[in-house]
Symmetry: C2
Subunit: 202 residues, 2 copies
Amino acid sequence: MSKFTITPRTRLRRLHKRGAFDHATVHAIIDEGYVCHVGARMADRQMVQPTIHWRDADTLYIHGSSKNGFFAALERGEEACVTITHFDGLVLARSAFHHSVNYRCAMIFGKARKVTDDTEKMAALEGLIERIAPGRWNEIRQPDAQELKATTVLAFVIDEVSAKVRNGPPVDDAEDYALPVWAGVVPFELRSGAPITDPGPE
Amino acid sequence: MSKFTITPRTRLRRLHKRGAFDHATVHAIIDEGYVCHVGARMADRQMVQPTIHWRDADTLYIHGSSKNGFFAALERGEEACVTITHFDGLVLARSAFHHSVNYRCAMIFGKARKVTDDTEKMAALEGLIERIAPGRWNEIRQPDAQELKATTVLAFVIDEVSAKVRNGPPVDDAEDYALPVWAGVVPFELRSGAPITDPGPE
């Protein structure tokens, strides 16, 4: 099993059993998600911005308007953390203390690289569209020069990364199992619904 | 309609039409979510950590182990941003450029206050359990002194906050509406499933 190298930034201080560093687990968490949360400093502010992400091998891409001030901060080399989280369920224990959440999350540390080469940029945008709807890139109008210029694509190398996973039932203290209260998991899932056709203008 | 005051940190630089500052919209976005993403610096690192959150009036609470290093950084007064995001759908336009995401998000800026008063702490934890499962607090074993000590509760005042919302169909360039490609929205929703009873130990 191939694994990511654990660094001072990705080593878990507590709950080591929840840690996951193998490529397959980390990539699966990233690929299942549509929206990541990107954190970085921006002037006087701490920001955490949600945005759509996609992956190509060991590169995580995000994109935005070339006028996006937060992206400009990332381009300038602010240290960033990109987190992808799946909320899988509420864990209802017999004691308040052992209530928990089932989840899977991946945290990627590093600095963004601005994609300046138009060929890579176009390939990355194709990757986004194909990730959303396979086969769609060749059906739609692809970006023209002006649209390409108006779009910033940022890349993060997925190498300094950790994942955490909690699943399964609650774990109560031995003496609490006898308490007369329901305990278990309420699972949650992100599901897609029936597509809604755009009637178009007017 | 009561509104939050717009500050330099919450003023939207672009896409003003997506901004929302009224209390009802912001509170609804916060209350519908289970998991927020908290961003702050922690020593040499930028962190974005997912965690469960809940609200009482204009206070947002999060909690964690008293040994959590990231929480310790927040306690020391690191500037933080707490973002709650709902991913509502993929917006498939006729041009690559106008593809988008339907979402609702709230971003809260500020510093955490550690809840040190045990009465407030206990009331906050009751608020968490009741938010997850109304009526449950009086059915379960409530935290004892040791568990209370092992738990850190942090509070953020919800005052410097902004929300962004995008919904509805794609908005394409006029000349693209004639393109022979399906366009519309694929809605997504976080749904709970049938509860899974914990069989208990062994």
